[in-house]
């Protein structure tokens, strides 16, 4: 890496490079690839939560106009990955993770796909699907989390942890001990999950999919269908939001592939909004019990944190809910436990801030309670227990500018106006509350490869098979390329979302910029090195130089000792008769660094809100989100990402809740009218402040991730502000007006 690169010098606008394509409709999402002879597939879904299909009546549907085929368990072709592999440990086999669509007649959840109707138009497929009738043998089921969590026999252990003494909080001068619950929340990105599958012959498959990881989807499909990976191409050029729901392939992906094979036509399968609730995961329902004890000086003595979250009966899904209590604050004694409760519903999955988003709700609310008991300001309490090194591993952090975040947010929200006594501050007849809470998520650097093609016309193409589900990955990669090569952004194109490109990571865990950016760094270094060598070999004026004597800056190669000797790289390429040079570079995972350092991004969210003293209606007035996410590569998209996370946090705190009818084991609000995602009117002014200090270890850019910490901590900050306003502590999300009625 050339030393003259200065990331603080932001001389390029950071408008989204794909913004115009998106707002003008030119961008093609998974369901928007028009193909000749396209057929349309629509799922028929189970209407019971547990049991088996006894009979399926297909006659009417088969004879409906335009129907090409109906696939269900009795006629579904044998899929290599769908058969349970031989349990013999000496044999290796791939088994599809999760529901094996149309594999048998067993029903695991309400809304499970039981048949796929394929027709020549979408309308005809929808109509024919409505004619399919299923008869079931029903079995006793459990969908009620509250009921199930009391039955120890149903619970599965998912990990215990102990440091120092267990339950040491009991010995502390002051302690709090309470239970917290969050309901199921769904990702429900604007773009519906969709798969368009195309076979060429029997062995070559192309899939246009909504996926956060084209390479991951490629591997899953290749193994599931017994194909060579090189014969499976997955295209995910544009993704309209996902928040984790597209981190893995759900049953609709193989279903579309099976259908395309059967009807020998390209098949498009788009989930309905209702199916977005029952087929592509969600943040699990979680119960937590947390106890925190401290001395009168506020120094933590012990934390005990226990959690149960739900999974399905056919797959275990766990996430690091209690992990935050192990390291976010300096505390000598910590014990945690985590259990899973299998329910007869579909499998949950990672959703923005998975684990910490849930865990921080309990931890940060409990700390808030503790601050009132101790009569210590909540920010002060956190500073008293500031972890200088990772409390569990004792490793230093690669970087931690959390103190800066507290200071930035405290100032911006006007924390000095906060009343120390809950319910004592009023403005215009409304109760006013201030609250804050912290967030955290792992940082690091995953493996990634990238290719650079530098052309004699002055343009640069960068490539990696990653997705950009909305955070602005493309914009960040173009920015990094532009700064490294000293080229204007409009000369650089980042190509992504295609498995034909060099392998990139799955977009998740706030890791794309770090991993892919590091690969782009390696590519740009290599391109510059190649140019220097070419100059020495081919330009007489440079022929006596060694590579280290040549300098590259803003598209020009110079002799270090005599700057008058120079050549532009475009002239160099033209002189050499090469239209372009191309390099592929791999950037390794930060495994060695992880041995020596702890790596995390941190956030602190501050909230000012009003509560109507009689009706309990909450009005958010101001949110300030601060973050230590290392060096910010693209300020505008980074800010947008933080704002989006804050809005997600508002939903978690105040409005979002999937409701299940436990008599029928069926979701009752699986639509956007009844499942309340926050709207503009719920959203206050959101200010975003970054510490913006480069991390010296994780990657050459100095960046850490933003995606998760944008949301983690927002919900407890709101709950803490509600408490400050009203004196009412709501420990069951969402905080709807009825919970605050006086």
């Amino acid at each position: 890496m050339d030393k003259e690169i200065n990331y603080t010098e932001s001389y390029f606008a950071d408008d989204r490079v794909d913004g115009i394509e998106k707002v003008t409709g030119k961008a093609k999402f998974a369901a928007e690839h028009p193909l000749a002879e396209m057929a349309y597939a629509v799922f028929v879904c189970s209407t019971i939560p547990k049991g088996a299909i006894k009979n399926m009546v297909l006659y009417e549907a088969r004879n409906a106009p335009g129907v090409l085929d109906i696939i269900y368990y009795l006629n579904c072709p044998t899929i290599p990955g769908h058969r349970p592999y031989d349990k013999d440990p000496n044999k290796k086999g791939f088994e599809w993770r999760g529901l094996k669509v149309f594999n048998d007649n067993i029903i695991y959840s309400n809304g499970q796909p039981i048949a796929l109707v394929i027709a020549d138009t979408l309308e005809r497929a929808v109509y024919a699907a409505s004619l399919v009738k299923a008869e079931y043998v029903t079995e006793d089921f459990i969908t009620d989390f509250e009921k199930g969590k009391k039955d120890e026999a149903l619970l599965k252990k998912a990990g215990d942890y102990k440091r120092g003494e267990a339950d040491a909080y009991k010995t502390a001068a002051v302690f709090v001990e309470d239970e917290y619950t969050i309901p199921i929340e769904t990702h429900n990105p604007m773009e519906l999950h969709a798969t368009t599958a195309v076979w060429e012959g029997d062995n070559k498959l192309t899939v246009y999919d909504k996926s956060q990881g084209p390479k991951g989807t490629q591997a899953e499909l290749a193994r599931n269908f017994g194909l060579d990976e090189k014969n499976v191409r997955v295209v995910t050029e544009y993704v309209g939001g996902a928040f984790g729901s597209a981190l893995r392939s759900w049953p609709h992906v193989p279903a579309a592939v099976i259908a395309a094979r059967k009807v020998k036509r390209p098949v498009k399968l788009v989930l309905t909004r209702e199916q977005m609730f029952t087929m592509v995961g969600y943040r699990p329902h979680a119960w937590q019990k947390i106890a925190i004890g401290a001395g009168k000086d506020g120094k933590l003595v012990g934390i005990s944190h226990h959690a149960i979250s739900n999974t399905s009966t056919y797959e275990d899904f766990s996430e690091g809910i209690v992990g935050v209590s192990q390291f976010l604050y300096d505390c000598p004694n910590v014990n945690t436990s985590y259990k899973l409760l299998p329910l007869n519903i579909n499998t949950p999955t990672w959703m923005r801030g998975p684990g910490p988003a849930t865990g921080c709700f309990a931890l940060e609310c409990a700390l808030d309670d503790l601050s009132y008991k101790l009569n210590i300001d909540p920010i002060e309490l956190r500073l008293i227990n500031y972890a200088e090194v990772h409390p569990a591993s004792k490793l230093p952090w690669t970087s931690k500018f959390l103190k800066e975040c507290y200071a930035l947010g405290k100032e911006k929200i006007g924390w000095h106006n906060r009343a120390a006594i809950p319910g004592s501050l009023k403005e215009n007849g409304m109760l006013v509350g201030y609250g804050m809470a912290g967030g955290v998520f792992g940082a690091g650097r995953g493996q990634a490869a990238a290719k650079g093609i530098l052309k004699s016309d002055g343009s640069l193409v960068l490539q990696s098979a990653v997705s950009d589900m909305g955070p602005g990955t493309s914009t960040a990669m173009v920015t990094i390329g532009a700064e490294l090569m000293g080229l204007p952004m409009n000369k650089i194109k980042f190509e992504l979302g295609d498995t034909d490109l060099p392998p990139g990571p799955t977009q998740g865990g706030s890791g794309s910029t770090s991993a892919v950016g590091a690969a782009i760094n390696a590519v740009c270094d290599s391109l510059k090195q190649t140019l220097k060598e070419m100059a020495i070999q081919q330009v007489p004026a440079f022929s006596t130089a060694k590579p280290e004597d040549v300098q590259y800056k803003k598209g020009m190669l110079f002799f270090k000792s005599d700057k008058t000797i120079s050549i532009s790289y475009t002239d160099l390429l033209q002189q050499s008769g090469k239209p372009e040079i191309e390099v592929i570079k791999d950037s390794a995972r930060a495994s060695a660094e992880a041995q020596k350092y702890a790596m995390h991004s941190f956030s602190v969210h501050f909230v000012k809100l009003q509560v109507h003293p009689v009706t309990g209606v909450i009005r958010l007035e101001h949110i300030v989100s601060t973050a230590d996410a290392g060096k910010i590569i693209t300020p505008k998209p980074a800010r947008s990402q933080m704002v989006g996370g804050a809005v997600g946090g508002i939903g978690m705190a105040l409005t979002e809740e999937v409701v299940i009818d436990h008599h029928f084991g069926r979701y009752v609000n699986s639509n956007f009218g009844d499942y309340h995602v926050p709207v503009n009117a719920d959203t206050p002014i959101i200010d975003v402040l970054f510490a913006d200090k480069p991390d010296p270890i994780i990657n050459p850019m100095g960046s850490k991730g933003i995606g998760e910490i944008a949301l983690v901590g927002v919900a407890p900050a709101i709950a803490n502000a509600v408490y400050n306003a009203t004196g009412k502590r709501v420990r069951e999300l969402p905080i709807t007006p009825d919970k605050l009625l006086s």
């Binding site: 009689v614 009005r619 409701v659 008599h663 029928f664 009752v668 009218g673």
Partner: protein, 324 residues
């Protein structure tokens, strides 16, 4: 979606004739509710009669009141100077309903005739006496946070979802209809039904009848307010809502009309509360007592019991806001 016939008409007479011709025919105007129901398989009209070109979109007034055409859009009515100046309660209620996009499509007549948003009604795999008489009420023993605390029956505990209708009930509006047997005028409070044993019937419109307009008589209410409490700030149905129209002179309430939304199968007029208020001082104390009167007789179930408390808070707050 099941295939259906689609016809357009341009006169009231033809529309009524077109409806009578085919059993299972339905009028369609904005379609913001009906199209959803058709997609979900809850409604399956064999014939849709598009009435959007009928000359029923005008808003006119005379000395006795304001006549709003049935096809006037929710957003047009809310923005109309006559409504804003003389019927601010109605304008506020309209603005509280649905979302801007829906209000730009939905008509006044359609708003009155919209179906309940009860989840069980909207999911054809669930039991619902309103959708399928005799199948049972899923909500009663299921999830009923949004459901009725007044006037419910064993057969149905659904609520009417409209905000506009709550205001129209308080304003003593009159529904104008035309049908095969001629024109009728129905007092708004008598237009919708309680569920009783026939929850499949939402209202008293006769077979073949079309709503042509809403007449709102002139009034002397100098204090009006619509308060809606909901789970999010826009695009959410009322947990409870209150329409208040008061005539207050020298601090004394001369006339009072109140109704509630989100609590019953129809806009719920608070007659006893109105009687209680008349002649009393417009004060916090009066309003607190009135709120208790308003919720007398309310019956809550597990998930909607909070509405009794919330209803009290809302009535008191709406009255206070009205005189502010």
């Amino acid at each position: 979606m099941i295939n259906f016939e689609f016809v357009r008409t341009s006169t009231v007479k033809n529309a009524i004739a077109a409806l009578s011709k085919t059993p299972g025919a339905q009028f369609i105007a904005g379609g913001t509710n009906l199209v959803d129901l058709m997609k979900k398989g809850v409604a399956a009209p064999k014939r849709l009669i598009d009435i959007n070109s009928l000359p029923l979109r005008d808003i006119t007034s005379d000395s006795k009141g304001i006549l709003i055409g049935a096809l006037a859009l929710n957003s047009e009515v809310a923005e109309h100077p006559l409504i804003k100046n003389k019927l601010s309660l109605l304008a506020k209620a309209l603005d509280a309903g649905a979302s801007a996009q829906l209000r730009n499509m939905a008509t006044i007549g359609g708003n009155i005739l919209q179906r309940t948003r009860c989840s069980y009604f909207n999911d054809s795999t669930m039991p619902c006496n309103k959708r399928e008489p005799g199948s049972g009420c899923g909500a009663k023993n299921g999830y009923h946070r949004m459901h009725a605390v007044f006037g419910a029956s064993d057969k149905c505990i659904a609520v009417h979802p409209s905000d506009m209708c709550v205001a129209l009930a308080a304003l003593d509006a009159v529904v104008h209809t035309a049908g095969p047997k001629g024109e009728r005028k129905v007092l708004f409070a008598d237009f919708h039904r309680l569920p009783g044993d026939n929850p499949e019937l939402d209202h008293h419109l006769q077979p073949g009848e079309l709503i042509t307009g809403i007449y709102v008589p002139a009034n002397s209410f100098n204090k009006q307010h619509y308060l809606k409490i909901r789970d999010r700030a826009s695009y959410a149905f009322a947990l409870v809502s209150v329409a208040v129209a008061l005539e207050v002179t020298d601090g004394i309430i001369k006339n009072a009309k109140l109704s509630m939304g989100g609590v019953a199968h129809k806009p719920w007029r608070l007659i006893s509360t109105e009687q209680f208020l008349v002649g009393k001082a417009a004060s916090k104390e009066t309003f607190t007592e009135a709120a208790a009167v308003a919720m007398t007789g309310a019956v809550g179930l597990t998930h909607n019991r909070f509405k009794i408390k919330m209803g009290k808070a809302a009535v008191r707050e709406a009255l206070l806001q009205a005189i502010r």
